[in-house]
């Protein structure tokens, strides 16, 4: 009796083994894509990877990158690495690579000619440390967008603004109609990101690079940046009634017409899509706040921790190739609202806003983003400063700028 049982069990396992494709390997992939639009996008990646005969084990960590990254890093440094993990390409995983915990992908990259297909080139540069490639960029996310609600402006009876200055001018009318002019959620990175966007838009590309790339503290404390702080002060006044925390809740205020606009990266577009809104009709987007049409080439990338298991290492290679596959790129980026990292894919299905982004990208008006230029430490200090600035109406511009200059002076 017992033997019969065992044989049956063995037969079942054997049958299972043969039922699936020969090399089915489970690979755990961690990421922080949990909002509606993001989850839809990551499902496309999982589908593509499963189609190769492997199995995508989803390791979504809720609560945005700030919460997820410490968990990912402690798993890697603590000796329990996942198969692959999302980071924003740039300097977030720099030390992990230097400590030899991440897998060198140069071989696969040369085989598949990544240097030729990935565009713009700066994306791969931020994956490269000491001449070796350590990550696969999957999308380009730019922060430089102002999302506007048509409904809100109709209700207030003012025309849709064409740039930031008109938007600021329209704020009193919006307020009178009971609408929050600008939605800024309470998470610290939102305030700090909004400031960086203002810096690139109001101050211009040169000013942006001078502050964050050259780390010129004297310039950061000077009159040109004072103008940016003046704009940030406008933003602070316009945002003072936003009582939400998460970025997608803030986006939702714009979707439902409770807020006039939001400065947020193009990932907000996924939310508009999930809500069934059409670009141009229900909402409008102004890249570079309508003042300085550039987009930053921040974004997401996958890093692969060094694993001992040979099967899993093999599966990592398959995943790396799948992520850059033209078909996956299109399916993923359409859902995500981001731009693909390949120039040679067909994006006819893209909506108005994405097409605007693609046009700017084709023109080459790109800047590196703060994730690529500053260490996490400086980023965090900046977040502390701007979340305080946005929440405290009595903090003077001079004081804020002085502290900003100090952060830039000590930045690395």
């Amino acid at each position: 009796m017992r033997y019969k049982f065992l044989t049956a069990a063995f037969a079942a396992t054997v049958a299972l083994n043969f039922a699936g494709p020969a090399a089915a390997t489970d690979l755990e992939v961690t990421h922080w894509w949990t909002s509606g639009g993001e989850a839809a996008a990551v499902a496309e990646l999982a589908k593509a990877f499963d189609a190769t005969g492997n199995h995508w084990v989803d390791g979504a960590i809720a609560g945005s990158g700030g919460t997820a990254r410490p968990i990912m890093i402690s798993r890697i440094t603590g000796g329990d690495p996942m198969g692959a993990t999302q980071f924003n390409h740039g300097r977030q995983a720099e030390e992990l690579v230097q400590a030899g915990l991440m897998r060198d992908l140069t071989d696969i990259a040369t085989k598949d000619k990544w240097t030729e297909v990935v565009r713009p080139k700066s994306l791969l540069d931020s994956c490269t440390i000491d001449g070796k490639i350590y990550c696969v960029p999957v999308n380009i996310h730019s922060w430089q967008w102002l999302w506007l609600s048509n409904e809100a402006f109709q209700k207030a009876g003012v025309p849709m603004p064409k740039d930031w200055n008109e938007f600021v001018a329209a704020a009193p009318a919006l307020e009178k109609a009971g609408i929050i002019p600008l939605a800024v959620g309470g998470q610290p990175w939102q305030a700090s990101g909004a400031f960086d966007v203002l810096l690139a838009a109001v101050g211009g590309t040169d000013a942006f690079l001078k502050v964050y790339k050259d780390k010129d503290a004297k310039f950061a404390g000077g009159p040109e940046i004072a103008k940016v702080f003046k704009a940030a002060d406008d933003a602070r006044k316009m945002a003072k009634n936003t009582n939400v925390q998460d970025w997608n809740q803030a986006t939702n205020l714009v979707i439902t017409g409770k807020a006039g606009g939001q400065i947020m990266g193009d990932w907000a577009q996924g939310e508009f899509q999930v809500a069934g809104k059409t670009a141009g009709k229900d909402y409008a987007c102004l890249p570079g706040l309508g003042l300085n049409e550039v987009i930053a080439t921040g974004g997401d990338a996958f890093y692969f921790p060094l694993l001992k298991d040979a099967d899993k290492s093999k599966a990592q290679e398959v995943l790396a190739e799948t992520l850059l596959d033209p078909k996956t790129q299109v399916a993923f980026n359409l859902k995500k609202g981001s731009l693909p990292v390949r120039g040679d894919v067909d994006l006819n299905a893209a909506n108005d806003c994405m097409k605007k982004g693609l046009a700017i990208l084709a023109k080459g008006a790109v800047i590196p983003w703060t994730d690529q230029l500053l260490s996490q430490d400086s980023q965090k200090q900046k977040e502390d400063l701007f979340s305080e600035f946005f929440a405290k109406p009595d903090m003077t511009l001079e004081e804020a700028q002085k502290r900003f200059a100090e952060i830039i002076a000590s930045a690395d």
């Binding site: 440094t77 996490q376 430490d377 980023q379 965090k380 979340s387 929440a391 405290k392």
Partner: protein, 297 residues
């Protein structure tokens, strides 16, 4: 026996000593060792991974010139005073009231102790909703007709820490009440009788006889409350995540944020060393008074 005038001290109760070796090692390696390691690395410029690259007191200089840290310390002081005073006072009052041989004592005790069964995260989320101006208390009172009523502590930088303290008191007072109640029940009935015979009013009996007799209970409670104050973290994360802005930041959150979000271990270690130092400053004089003086039987 010739050579055993006095057994070697080292080998007395040998079994017990062997049995306690694992705990001694744990205490030494984990507590003392971990603490020493943290303090040592707080003098380095370790970023994501610990590195022995000494920079002297730089991390401490930076710490004490960071406005977020100063706000955290101030918040901890306010929160500490409030939770110490109010949980002792309210806890004792509730216990004294329950001790009046009332009906349904069990029911009341359960109700008051129940919040303690909830984690700080749940407590924080519950109070986040209650104190939310659009859904909570403010909305209810406004719907009742007082339309100008305003109560939104979590969205007002200057009083947000009090909003957090309310939730902490709601959660923690029940436990303090139970400890106090146990203390009160431990007082001999005869003392009450004697006081009554002497015609001493009840409040005076409590203040001058019962409370001094409950000294050990008070010390236990004090230690429990103080430990809760220094480590407060999850309540803040659940209720406000430190907001609005940085108005409700606390030291433990600073440590976590800088160690893991900012990938700056050195700075996080410096902050945790300062937290340890503050505990030491409180504990050492107390321990000296308590244990250092004459030995009590």
């Amino acid at each position: 026996m010739s050579n055993s005038e006095r057994p070697n001290q080292l080998f007395r109760n040998l079994n017990a000593k062997i049995a306690s070796i694992p705990m001694i090692l744990t205490a030494l390696v984990v507590f003392v060792g971990g603490t020493a390691w943290t303090v040592l690395y707080s003098f380095t410029n370790s970023k994501l991974l610990p590195r022995l690259n000494f920079v002297g007191l730089d991390q401490y200089h930076r710490l004490w010139s960071t406005s977020r840290w100063l706000v955290s310390i101030e918040n901890l002081l306010i929160y500490g005073v409030i939770s110490l005073v109010f949980s002792l006072v309210i806890g004792f009052l509730l216990a004294a009231l329950l001790d009046q041989k009332i009906r349904f004592e069990d029911t009341f005790r359960t109700i008051f102790l129940y919040p303690f069964a909830l984690s700080f995260i749940v407590t924080g989320l519950v109070w986040q909703w209650l104190l939310n101006p659009d859904f909570g208390v403010q909305r209810v009172v406004r719907d009742l007709g007082w339309t100008s009523f305003s109560f939104d502590p979590l969205y007002n930088s200057s009083i947000v820490i009090y909003g957090i303290s309310i939730a902490a008191l709601w959660q923690g007072t029940g436990l303090i009440m139970c400890l106090m109640l146990a203390g009160l029940r431990g007082i001999d009935e005869d003392i009450w009788k004697a006081a009554r015979v002497d015609g001493i009013p009840a409040w005076k009996t409590y203040l001058f006889i019962i409370i001094p007799m409950m000294r050990p209970v008070f010390i236990t409670t004090l230690v429990i409350i103080a430990a809760g104050i220094v480590k407060v973290y999850d309540l803040v994360v659940a209720q406000t995540s430190g907001g609005p802005g940085i108005a409700s930041e606390v030291p433990a959150k600073y440590v976590y944020d800088y160690m893991f979000f900012a990938q700056n271990l050195g700075q996080g270690f410096a902050a945790s060393t300062m937290m340890l130092l503050s505990v030491v400053i409180v504990i050492v004089p107390w321990a000296y008074l308590e244990f250092g003086g004459k030995k009590r039987g």
